[in-house]
């Protein structure tokens, strides 16, 4: 039976990773080029900080390079990469929260645990769609604040479901939990977000 385009890509990923595990460093470049956009995007959506996300993505790829020999050929390479990335980002978030706790919190700082407010927006902009752009920027900021307040496990599930478009089965594979646990975490995250939205007005 002929493989679909997506299956061919997954199969190709596995073969490339097998070559890397066998010592072919140059093949690793193929894997990086194939997945760099997805992984930096995931890191950015987890960390809400572009420069930190790019650095994190690089570390994720290097972790994957070191662990290439431990990859189980039954799974998908991209879910394996996602797993490394999610765990790495969650560790960074824990460290960030610990650092914030040890510094007794920064007075006057936003509740978003990030030092970026997303793309720059100039309120003085006189363009006709300025109001709309301001509303969009506000919505992005609110989303960041809402997600940042979620527990790590719910944050990961929500990010993978909403922004990465992964199915429950894929999320379960990435996080190594059951599909039922994915459903339950996502539902709890949504309830929490709804309550937080009500509080924010």
């Amino acid at each position: 039976m002929a493989l679909s385009l997506q299956e061919q890509e997954h199969d190709s990923d596995r073969r490339v990773l097998a070559r890397v595990a066998a010592g072919d460093v140059e093949s690793f470049g193929v894997l990086v080029e194939r997945h760099e956009k997805r992984l930096t995007g995931l890191c950015e959506r987890m960390l809400h900080n572009t420069s930190e996300a790019q650095e994190a993505a690089q570390e994720v790829f290097l972790k994957a390079f070191r662990k290439a020999g431990s990859f189980q050929p039954k799974g998908q390479v991209y879910t394996w990469l996602y797993r490394i990335a999610v765990n790495h980002c969650l560790n960074l978030l824990r460290r960030r929260r610990l650092a914030k706790f040890l510094s007794f919190g920064d007075v006057g700082r936003s509740t978003v645990d990030s030092d970026e407010d997303g793309p720059l927006f100039d309120p003085e902009d006189s363009a006709p769609d300025a109001e709309q752009r301001l509303a969009t920027a506000r919505r992005w900021r609110q989303t960041r604040e809402l997600i940042a307040a979620l527990p790590a496990a719910q944050r990961a599930v929500l990010t993978l479901a909403k922004f990465e478009g992964l199915s429950y089965r894929e999320i379960a594979e990435v996080l190594e939990i059951t599909e039922g646990a994915v459903e339950s975490r996502l539902f709890r995250a949504m309830q929490r977000l709804r309550k937080a939205q009500e509080t924010m007005g």
Partner: protein
């Protein structure tokens, strides 16, 4: 909302929204259920509104040369691993033996060394007068009234200078 079935139904709806896949029969059944239960319909609409309201900007583009940069770092890792793997057997065995010996000494004698010499300040500074003063300390003491100390200390300094 507290009923288990309702919770399951809402989870299913969330799943449908996320995956955009559901059989027609299942969708019809859920539609009927929602129409029959206002509270459930309202809960679903609120959750759907929250889901739709979550928006983030498109992630920034990967910087140019990202893959090359990662590949360069990977090459360094592999070179480092290779240099260690290619080291002569005697060097690797020697390093391993030194590590094991160090750990053994640390575990065996580490506690004994720290326990054998407890700090006894009263023994060292038992005779406070025997502790030599610096010229500055003697000067400040003299200012406070004990001029004999300053005289003794300045005599000894002058003696050393001569």
């Amino acid at each position: 909302m507290n009923r288990k079935n309702d919770r399951q139904l809402l989870q299913l709806l969330m799943q449908r929204r996320q995956r955009a896949e559901m059989s027609i029969d299942e969708a019809d059944r859920i539609e009927q259920r929602l129409r029959a239960d206002d509270e459930l319909q309202s809960s679903y609409e609120q959750l759907a509104g929250t889901w739709d309201g979550l928006q983030l900007p498109e992630p920034a583009a990967t910087p140019p040369g990202f893959a090359q940069h990662v590949l360069q770092a990977a090459r360094k890792i592999r070179d480092h691993e290779l240099s260690w793997a290619l080291a002569p057997t005697w060097a690797r065995l020697g390093a391993a033996a030194a590590l094991v010996a160090g750990l053994t000494v640390g575990v065996t004698f580490g506690g004994a060394i720290t326990d054998s010499s407890p700090f006894e300040p009263e023994g060292i500074y038992a005779d406070v007068d025997a502790v030599p003063l610096s010229l500055a300390e003697a000067y400040w003491l003299a200012l406070e009234g004990d001029e004999t100390l300053f005289a003794e200390e300045s005599d000894s300094v002058e003696g050393r200078l001569q």
